[in-house]
């Protein structure tokens, strides 16, 4: 290629950059192929999804504490407490004499709207509320990105005392199904008086529903059996 107005050192630099680009692309391609070859032996990334305040972080912490001794993140009754996807790697769950290793990804609660005024009801000042709402929107966008690109399976957590027929649930289950990801529905908060597990099971009859209370640690044996069965 002829470069009439480009100094020699710049042309050399461009050729060098072009070669580097090709090398980088080649390296990335090889990396992708090897990733696929060895993916079967790597831990599966299991995303914990659901609407805000369903108890996703409480569940993630319960699983992480039970099998690694560490928590993943802070729990709170304030919506959007989790505003960044958090990962706990190499969680080894032992069931029936065999071990299943997974990476847990605790994601921010998915919604189609975030109004900073909702935070004001929780004794949070306006500046802090605006900051939280901005972080929450970034977190939801990040969660959607993880769902499209980076998870191998989904634990969908619902508050069993709440109506499951919401648009967020409808859309997210549709998105998960369209990506053909294995999914378990966890009907959480069975310790609440208004808990209605049957309503959750009726809303998503095409998927297995497991009742539990992540807060009280109720029915965790079945939870781990199902995780090993679905994602092992």
């Amino acid at each position: 290629m002829f470069y009439p107005h480009t100094p020699l050192h710049e042309r050399c630099s461009e050729v060098q950059e072009s070669r580097m680009g090709l090398l980088t692309e080649l390296r990335d391609s090889i990396s992708r192929v090897t990733d696929r070859l060895f993916s079967a032996s790597e831990p599966k990334r299991i995303g914990i999804y659901g609407p805000p305040n369903a108890g996703k972080t409480t569940l993630a912490n319960r699983i992480a504490r039970d099998w690694t001794g560490d928590a993943i993140g802070p729990e709170s009754h304030i919506p959007h407490e989790t505003r960044r996807a958090r990962r706990k790697e190499n969680v080894e769950i032992e069931r029936n004499g065999r071990a299943v290793t997974i990476d847990i990804v605790d994601t921010p609660g998915v919604t189609t709207k975030v109004d900073y005024k909702e935070f004001l009801d929780h004794d949070i000042g306006k500046d802090d509320a605006v900051r939280r709402s901005r972080e929450a929107t970034e977190g939801v966008a990040e969660a959607m990105h993880w769902l499209r690109e980076d998870v191998d399976g989904v634990i969908y957590v619902l508050d069993s005392a709440e109506d499951p027929f919401t648009q967020v649930n409808t859309m997210l289950i549709g998105i998960i199904e369209s990506r053909e990801l294995p999914v378990l529905i966890f009907a959480n908060k069975t310790d609440l008086e208004d808990s209605n597990v049957k309503q959750i099971a009726n809303a998503f009859p095409q998927h297995e529903t497991v009742p539990l209370s992540a807060l009280e640690g109720e029915n965790m044996d079945e939870v781990y059996d199902k995780i090993a069965e679905y994602f092992g």
Binding site: Y116, R134, R148, Q167, M171
Partner: protein, 127 residues
């Protein structure tokens, strides 16, 4: 036909968009059309709805556009997803389960009163 602008009447504009109008649009064109309309205070009704992937992108783009005291997001309603037709056989038989009537509006103007497998009841109000 002369177009009636929103400012001409003290009401809420509802755009019913046919599947034919959307079928040749790219995903981002659809999302832009929806969000521009909703941010303008309109209610958008899509005859055929969006694919799951487009819904996922709609949520993601909506999140990036939310700003305090200006735009707090969208309310969107469709009927619950039925998986029976989405399998291989369903696709082979031409039953496209992604097609579903979809209502989208500004979050501060639509409130869902009731929703189940066969009915969506919503209240649309002025700002």
């Amino acid at each position: 036909m002369p177009e009636v602008k929103r400012g001409d009447h003290d009401g809420i504009q509802i755009d019913l968009i046919s599947g034919a109008r959307m079928e040749n649009m790219r995903s981002m064109e659809k999302i832009r059309l929806i969000l521009d309309s909703v941010r303008d205070g309109k209610i958008v009704i899509l005859e055929d709805g969006l694919s799951p992937d487009e819904e996922s992108k709609l949520i993601e783009v909506t999140m990036t556009e939310i700003s305090p005291d200006n735009f707090s997001g969208i309310e969107i309603e469709t009927y619950p997803h039925k998986s029976s037709d989405s399998g291989f056989l369903g696709k082979l038989m031409g039953r496209d389960s992604t097609k579903k009537l979809t209502v989208i509006g500004p979050a501060n103007q639509i409130e869902t009163l009731h929703k189940d497998e066969t009915l969506i009841s919503a209240l649309i109000s002025r700002k």
